[in-house]
């Protein structure tokens, strides 16, 4: 009887000990997780860093959908598909593509290969241009790439290009500016102050909502963020013309050109000229920017 009571007391004491330990350790564990920047994202918790690989696979899958299945595999020549076309067509990423995109399969290798090509997508098309039907009225079919892009953002919230691609297609082909804004704000929560995301968000306010005051605020915040993004790196290095600095130059130029357009549309010619002069520093075609500056100066006179 005594032994039984002792066991029960021991059982209760151990339970209290376990509960107490749990209560002490859990907040500390939570603190360590937060310090390490771990999120409550399901995929990141499940796959860890490898979720980035899966995110890239989902991104490529979206591009395969953009081509209605006509896409190179690891066995094909993918020189013309190094940069996904759905991202390249947004104009927001540097292109690394070369070669002929319509003929990655090459000539049929044998009669089996030639015959099998009747049963797979065998023509280069883009969904925003009508896809396999070539019917331009069906350009909204580009919506089919969105589930894979959504998955890619879930798996790698730090990949900026995914947000840019989703936002571009939502606000252009699908006329869903509010959804695009929602996506970009989600991106900004994961990547606070990112100038590319701020630029894209500003475009929604300027092009879709026609809210110039808000667009100006966002773009100016984007420029400020760009300036503070890489402390210690001189502007001359960031704006040097090469492939490695494409993102830096591109976003800076776009922010300044769009700010100039905005100021120009409001009749603030002086401010527009200042922005264009800054844009000229990053532009691969400074002569074109100079022409715009000259036109503005001529108008002012």
């Amino acid at each position: 009887m005594n032994t039984s009571r002792t066991l029960w007391l021991l059982f209760i004491a151990l339970f209290v000990l376990c509960f107490g330990l749990g209560a002490v350790v859990q907040p500390r564990f939570q603190q360590i997780e937060n310090d390490n920047g771990q999120s409550d994202n399901f995929f990141i918790l499940l796959f860890g860093d490898s979720s980035r690989l899966f995110a890239n696979a989902a991104f490529i899958k979206a591009d395969a959908y953009y081509h209605s299945g006509y896409y190179p595999t690891i066995f094909d020549n993918n020189q013309a598909f190094k940069t996904p076309h759905m991202a390249e067509d947004t104009g927001a990423v540097a292109s690394h593509n070369s070669g002929e995109e319509t003929a990655f399969m090459g000539k049929p290798r044998n009669w089996i290969d030639a015959f099998a090509r009747h049963f797979i997508p065998n023509r280069h098309t883009h969904l925003n241009e009508g896809g396999p039907t070539d019917d331009l009225s069906t350009s909204s079919e580009v919506r089919e790439i969105l589930p894979w892009l959504d998955l890619a953002t879930e798996m790698n919230p730090q990949d900026i290009r995914t947000y840019l691609v989703i936002s571009f297609w939502l606000r252009t082909s699908l006329n869903q500016a509010s959804e695009a804004e929602h996506v970009l704000r989600g991106g900004l929560r994961s990547n606070p102050g990112n100038p590319q995301l701020l630029f894209e968000l500003g475009r929604i306010y300027f092009d879709n909502y026609h809210d110039t005051a808000q667009a100006r605020k966002i773009w100016e915040a984007g420029v400020l963020s760009w300036e503070n993004e890489k402390p210690g790196v001189p502007w001359s290095d960031r704006l040097k013309y090469n492939n490695a600095t494409f993102d830096d130059r591109f976003v800076f130029e776009q922010l300044e050109v769009h700010l100039a357009q905005l100021e120009g549309s409001l009749g603030n010619t002086e401010a527009a000229i200042v922005h264009l002069q800054r844009a000229k520093l990053a532009s691969p075609k400074p002569d074109d920017i100079q022409k715009m500056i000259d036109e503005l100066k001529y108008k002012r006179l």
């Binding site: 969105l146 589930p147 959804e179």
Partner: protein
């Protein structure tokens, strides 16, 4: 022919009492409905990812039904000691093998009708149009490809000792063909001799069941219908392999000791 059909009828009756098909069919429906109910940017017309998942599940389910069903046919007759009484009747060994094949093939055909009907309704629910001829082509070639798999599994059931080992080997070979069959010749070129010649010969000798499998992309992305001439040609190509494996199975079974 009547005797062959009678054996096939028994196989069909036996299989619709089993739960394999129902489980796989309900699982496919459940997964597709859950995936289809996902909200992607409030757009209710996005469907192609669901079509892709559904077609993949249909292929996986049909392969499971085809291989597991076929692999146990003759071994089960042996195990239950019904093979000798069956052959004691006026039924040749060839008729038994062909009957078993026909039964399994018809069962897979009936399963495919259910699967593709569900697929058609699922696609139409979002696309608001029927691509009936495209689905018909896909289902027909899928059925022909399953015929090759069934004939191969039947041959395997006479060669390998146990249904489990036969099923595992069949699944492995079919999965390998579906994944890299189309590129095996390219892969062979990167290998040293004599392996290169062996792999290259395998490429030409093996049944290219990956061709109907890869056809899924045309269905998923709403490509226009394939020229029927190519469909019939592929049907004939697969039929030739069905005949080849069946003749092989008959030859082995005729010489096989049953006790």
């Amino acid at each position: 022919m009547n005797k062959t059909l009678a054996v096939a009828g028994v196989v069909i009756k036996e299989l619709y009492r089993r739960k394999d098909f129902y489980v796989l069919f309900i699982l496919t429906i459940m997964i597709c409905l859950v995936m289809g109910s996902m909200n992607v940017f409030n757009d209710r017309e996005i469907i192609r990812y669901v079509k892709e998942i559904c077609l993949l599940l249909i292929w996986v389910s049909s392969l499971i039904i085809a291989i597991t069903t076929t692999a146990r046919q003759i071994p089960a007759e042996k195990e239950q000691r019904t093979l000798l009484p069956l052959l004691a009747k006026p039924l040749s060994r060839t008729q038994l093998v062909v009957g078993k094949f026909l039964g399994c093939w018809i069962v897979c055909g009936l399963a495919l009708i259910c699967f593709y009907t569900f697929f058609g309704f699922l696609a139409a629910s979002r696309e608001h149009q029927w691509h009936l001829l495209n689905y018909l082509q896909a289902a027909f070639l899928h059925w022909m490809a399953l015929g090759v798999v069934i004939a191969f599994a039947l041959l395997g059931s006479l060669v390998f000792a146990a249904p489990s080992s036969n099923a595992t080997i069949c699944f492995s070979i079919v999965a390998a063909i579906l994944c890299i069959g189309r590129y095996l010749d390219k892969f062979a070129l990167s290998l040293p001799e004599p392996i290169r010649s062996i792999v290259y010969s395998i490429y030409f000798a093996m049944p290219h069941v990956e061709i109907p499998f890869d056809m899924r992309k045309l269905i998923i992305h709403d490509w226009p219908i394939i020229d029927w001439r190519y469909v019939w040609l592929l049907g004939l190509y697969l039929l030739a392999y069905i005949a080849f494996f069946l003749v092989g199975a008959c030859l082995i079974f005729r010489r096989k000791a049953l006790n």
